[in-house]
Each structure stands twice: as C-alpha cells, then as structure tokens.
Amino acid sequence: MKINHLFKLVIIYFLVIVTLVILIFPYYWVFISSFKSTIEIATEEPRLIPRTFTLKHYEDLFGSVYKFHHYALNSLIVSLPVTIISILISTLAAYGLARGRIKGKRAFSNAVLLSYLTEPSMLVVPLFFIILLFGLYNNLIGLILTYPIVTIPFCIWMLREFFISIPIEIEEAALVDGASRLHVLTKIVLPLAAPGIFTAGIWSFVTAWNEFILALAFIAGLENWTLPLGLASYVAVYDIDWGLVSAACFLYELPALIVFAPLTKYFVKGLTLGAVKR
C-alpha cells in the first residue's frame, strides 16, 4: 500500500514537471534569446544557456527604427480609456441585471451572452464600415470606441456573478430605510464588489493591450500603430532579427504578468466559473 502510494506520487510529480517545462519553456527561450548576440543566433547551434551576452536588442528596440516606446504609448492611449469605459458600463449593467426590476431581463442577458461569444474576427468587417461612417479610419479614437464591445460582455457576466453573491438583505435594509437605488449602489454595493470590479478592469486592460485584428484593419499609418502591430511588423521583413523580436516579446509580456501575478487567485475562481456558468 505504502509503495503504491509512493509510486503514485512519483508519477504525479513527473507529470507536473513535464507540464511546467512545456508551459514555461517558450518564455524562457524568448528571455535568453533576447540577450544573445545576433551572430550567435544566426550562425551557431541554438544553446539552452547563451554563450554571448548583449543588451543591443533592447537598445535597438527603443531606437528610431523599431520605436517600441512609441507603439507602447499608442497602446496605452487606447487601453486606458477602454478600461474606464468598460468598467463604468459593465458595472451599471451587471448591477441592473443582478438586482434591477427590468422587463426583458432574460432577453438582455441572452444578448450579452451572444455578444460574449462574438469573436473579434466576426466583428472586423462590420465594424470597419462603422469606422468609415464615423470618419475614424486610422484614428486611435476608433479603437477606443470599438474595443469595449469586445470587453464589455464578459465584464458584465463576471460582475453579475459578483453582485448576485452579495447578500441582498444588506441592500433591502438600506432601501427600506429610504435610501435611493443609486445611494445603495455607490455606498454599499460598490465597496463590496470592489475586488470584482478591479479584476474586470485589469482584464479589460489586458484585452485591449493584446487586441490585434481590429487594429490591423482600422489603423493604416505606422505613427498610429499599437504595440501588437509594431511587433507583427518586426517579423514581416525578409531578414528577421530574432534577438530583437525576443526582446520585444519579453518587454511586452512583463507588465501584464507583473500586474496579474497577485490577482491570479481571483482569476482562477472568477473567470473559470464565469466562463461556463450563467
């Protein structure tokens, strides 16, 4: 019995380690490649431990050719307003869905569910016409207005779960005392739902930060490129500098992972259940 148990444990650890290696390796590989000299990358056998060390790729990235900082700034200009719009709209709607006396609630929640399933690639052609109609082609404002349609449905969904989990008695007591719905929302419900709203905000930011196909279709000039477009352009040349691309990947992912690391607990619970439950 004891040996059997030990055997099981060995297998579990073995499988966990294999999983982690497969999971982490691409990030490790990009990380070390970003410090290898271009000559090592292009002419030598790939090594797991680099032979050379250089910061040249990072210097190049912030130079006048690759303009990583410029694209990052554009991405920030888009992602921050998208986050604010998403939080505002979805908090109100989620609260309305969780607590409001609204006719056609079911129809509305089905509409939210359907828009949650709508992928950006389904939206790109329809939204392109709206962009043209509003005269927002090659304009970052076009991205700010269209990205929330990707972020809002999921945020409403996640926040609705949060609001429902707050005991309704607290709110009813306040309403009986004569407080208005708005008062109840701002003074009682929002503080309790703060972790959920925070999570929804971070999620919206990262989604906007990562969005690619809409930007690809709606932005023409490279002065307005967001970071994903910039990165894609680094490999759209004949002579790809993989050290540089690796450095760009590493810098791109770093902020998102730092922001997310302390939040993973919320995410594992909130997202996975929210994704399948209604």
Binding site: L20, P46, S115, S121, V125, L127, I149, I156, E253
Partner: protein, 279 residues
Amino acid sequence: MPKINYDYLLIMPALLWIAIFLIFPFFYVIVNSFIYKNNVTLDNYVTVFKTPRFFSSLYRTFLWTIGNVVFQLGLGLGLAILLNQNFKGVSAVRSLMLIPWLSSNVIVALQWKWIFHGTCGIATKLLMDIGITSSPISFFAPNVALLSCIIVNVWRWTPFTALVFLAGLQVIPLHLYESALIDGASVFQRFLKITLPLLKPIIAVWALITFIRTFNGFEIVWILTGGGPGEATLLLPIHMYTTTFLLGRFNEGSAISVLMTLMSAIFMILYVRTAQRSE
C-alpha cells in the same frame, strides 16, 4: 406621483453600446453583402461560392477547429485531473496555468515561430538531440504547417481549459468517490461512472465555446504563417481578411463575413440553449 423605474438607466449605456457597435454593424454588413455596384443582388455570394479558395479554406477551417477542440479538451481533462491531486505547490501550479491565456496571441505566435524556426530553431535541435529525427524539421512546410499551428493553439488554450474543468471537478462531492471505492470500483470505473457524467455539462459548454473561438481564430495563424505556404494554412477568417482588406473587395468580404457569422451562430445558439438548460 408615479414612481419612475430608474433600473432601466443602469442597463441603458450597455444597451446603447451593443446597439451601435454590434447590432447596427451586423445589419449594415448584411445589407452591404447584397449590394454590388449600387444594385441589390446576389452577385457577391455567387462570387464567393465561385472562388475555390472559399471551400478549400472552409474545409481546412473545420480540420483546424476539430483538431483543436479534440486536443484541447482531451489534454485539458487529463491536466485537470492532475491538478486535482494533492501535491506540494498545487495552488502555485494552478496559477501558472493562466500564463499562456494571459499572453497575447501575437506573443504566443511569435514565440513559437521562433522555437519552430527551420534552421536556428530550438525545437528542431532538441528533437535531433533526443534522436527523434536525424534531419532538421521544417515545421511550416506545406504538409505540416497546419499541424504546427494547431500545436501552438493547443499549447495556448489547454491550460485554461484544464482550469475550467478543474472548477467542475472540485464541486463533485467526495463521498461519491469514497462509496465507489468501498464498492471496489477501479480508477477507470470511477472516472467513467462518476467524473465524466458529472463533468459532462461543463465539457459540453466549453466544447461549444472552444469551437466558436477556434472556428473564428485569426491571429495565431496570421502571425505564424500568414495563411501560407501557398494555401496550406489559409483559414476562413484569413480568407475573409485578405479578400476584404488586402484585395479591397469589400462587398465580397462582407458576404464571407456574413457566412462566417451565420455558421458560428448555429453554435452560439446551441450554447445559449445548453447554458440555459444547465441553469
């Protein structure tokens, strides 16, 4: 004084946003797909169906989607069972599973494009070192490019799928397993008779979500291969994108977009139904 119901104001902004940026655009594109040179016509659809690339890319998209769904769900279920075991650091390992999901599609694709590089890539080198192959592998050769793309997408989504299934596993009451154990049921029997039936609703819903997402997947393949070499990885969304934005055939592109959305809509409605039933 009649009491005004302010609750409607709460959902108004969301409703407006969905109306302007979702419903209206879809109507617009449907109308546009029936217009060619200022005439109301079916010409755009005729053009779409006359292009062999449409059907070949549709077929390829189904291969790509089914390959992804099968591997993501199969491996995801296995991984979920592994993460449901008791071992040291299990919660840290679970958190790490979010990393690929948090990463941008663009980054995932770039990383693997580099790993799968034909001459300087580490994948080829490692496989040669282990002795699986003696000559360098070109992962993006016409006959294997689609498979390579599937591997990358499976890598990206399997860990998150595992977390979803894990959430389902954790609500299965333990006493079911205990009484099965007393009855002498084997591991395999417990899996077939308890785990799988109780997990079925989540698996069904997640299979539909995965199907819709993958069927409309664009970014990973676009960065990895751009649809090539030749048409080896030309998926329907890529065909739609190139027709519309690179060739500038907006009406034809609208028609493809409408068809793509219609095909997805079947699965979306199925999803809403399934989700309602499990409520």
